[in-house]
Amino acid sequence: MSSSTTPIMSDSTTAVPATPRRRLSLRRGVLALSQYTGFAPAMVLFGLFFAAPMALIVAYSFWTQDGYEVVANWTFANYRQVFSTPVYVNTFLVTLWMTAAATVLTLAVAFPFSYWLARYVSRRWRRPLLFLVILPFWVSYLLRVTAWTIILGNNGALSRLLGVVGLSTPSWLLYDRPAVIFVLVYLYFPFAALTLFAALERFDWRQLNAAMDLGATQIQAVRRVMLPQIKPGITTAVIFVFIPILGEYLTPELVGGTRGVMIGNLVDNFFQEAQYAVGAAIAILIAAVVIILLVIFRRSLEVGEMYGR
């Protein structure tokens, strides 16, 4: 059979010399693929360090725990155990509540600071002040949290200060939920402050003056003119603060005592005793909440907006 009489469809299955048309389409295919070669390192990294471990955790959450070993028998038992044990559902809800409270408080503290920094501080002083915001990152996370156990402790600085002014140390100052939320606000303040500052720095303050010239109160001007424009910055700050706090376990362990436990601590208990299947199921549920939140936030946040486009 000569190549000239071979139907085009059979070319792909028989070893015949390529026709000029076929060579052209091959070249186009190679060109099309070459556009994506730049993504190869990212794809490999994504696959190795995110997709593969995530797939393994998902698999573990559906596998059977047999004593200390996880057997590759598919089951919903781990999820059933999580949903049928009240303590896991309660702890999950408490964790969501604590995370939301810590996020709101972090933004409530970070917003006035960023507003002041962006609007009233001269450019000369901004840099040293921003440097101070990121200064805590020079000290390890563990040390920063441990330092708070000393500050908030029975004989700590805060307790002594309260004693000087004649106040007794409240029992929730350490080893309780308020202590966890307080330390989380401290830990995540820089993330919120920097993100909000980046959004506020680009804001044209003359618009606020214009709104007030047209009869708006200061609060109305902020709410109707400024907030809509910096909304992507606020959303980004919420994402940067809420998501990592949701999976926190070290801060509640160090300053939360037995009353400030979050869901991450229960996952840690499972992993400590090599009960990986149920631990993985709870971890996947945490990830599911994060994904749902990202989907919700996606409506008010285009990727381009995060980069100021």
Partner: protein, 377 residues
Amino acid sequence: MTNNSMITRRDALRAGALGLGALSLAACGSTSSSSSSGTAAANTVAKTTTPVTLNMLTWNDHYDPQSQFPAIKKETGITVDVTLGSDDAGMFVKSKQSGQFDIVSADALWVPYYFQQGLTEPFDIDAIPVSQQLYSVSRDFSIWQNSAGYLGYPRAWSALRIYYNPKFVSPAPTSWEVLLDPKYHGKFVRENQPTDIVAEAGLATGAKDPYNMTPAELSRATEFLKAAKPAFLTLVSQNTGVVQALTNESAWFTSENLGTDFRVKQAGGPLIKAAVPKEGVVGWLDAEMKMKTANADRFSQFINAWGQAEFIPPLFKEFREAWFNEKAYKMLVNQGQGEFADALLYNQPEQALKAHLKGPQKDPNAYVTAFNSVFGA
């Protein structure tokens, strides 16, 4: 083994300082070490110095990388590559899944469990010359013996007692029920070890085998823990957290390893006393196991070099544990450490078996769930 934590920066600095001291000790002791192991070992322990790397899964209180490992390498050609473990369950899974560890450390009843799972090889402990330095009782632990030999080389032990501050806790506790006393709410600190805490609650409620309770016993233990929860100030990740809380008197009592009273005293804290609850205590004794690997033939040689008494005093000063090495006890007494060693019951190794020993559970998930149901939100 209670060092359930990873090495911290502080640990590393300490280890460095320890290493400098130990290096000089090892230099002084290397002659006796070589002779004791070399001559007596001639017919029993491999004499080859062919270079080999042994992978060891252990805790950081089992070795001194600065002085011990170089000396072992010099004498035997063995390079030790250490992987630090956190707890028995995780180490069991890691060693079983990877199959790459030549030596693994484990506690008490975990040792026969490894053997039952086909992971370890028994050995003739008396054929390892350094074993003659051990208290004889530790060469004869029934839990670590079977017809084929010994299942683990004994290292150290401890029991967990109630340590209390007599200034605040009076009368002295005689039972785990002290945890239910309202006047001690928020004053008990404990290392976060879910299985051990549930086991102690099991003892408090009369369980016969606290590490393998029946569902009914586990249920009673859970109820006890729920009632005792108000007493818990916090669960800390390391022993140092317990010492800190007792030292600054934010906590008044704990359940901890032997010697906690001394540790608090060393940290500048108040007088702490020990009490043994009438229901009993949990405890551990750990060992190095010979894993079924291609390098198993070098195990005895490694143990013979690693287990020399000369290496123990620096580790004792760092981690404060009662080893089973009798020769090292005598060295410690000569170095002025006798009081501390006695406080750890170092010279009473037979006490090791009197505690309810740590071991694997038939249903570990039930233990974690019991613990979480108490300490979850």
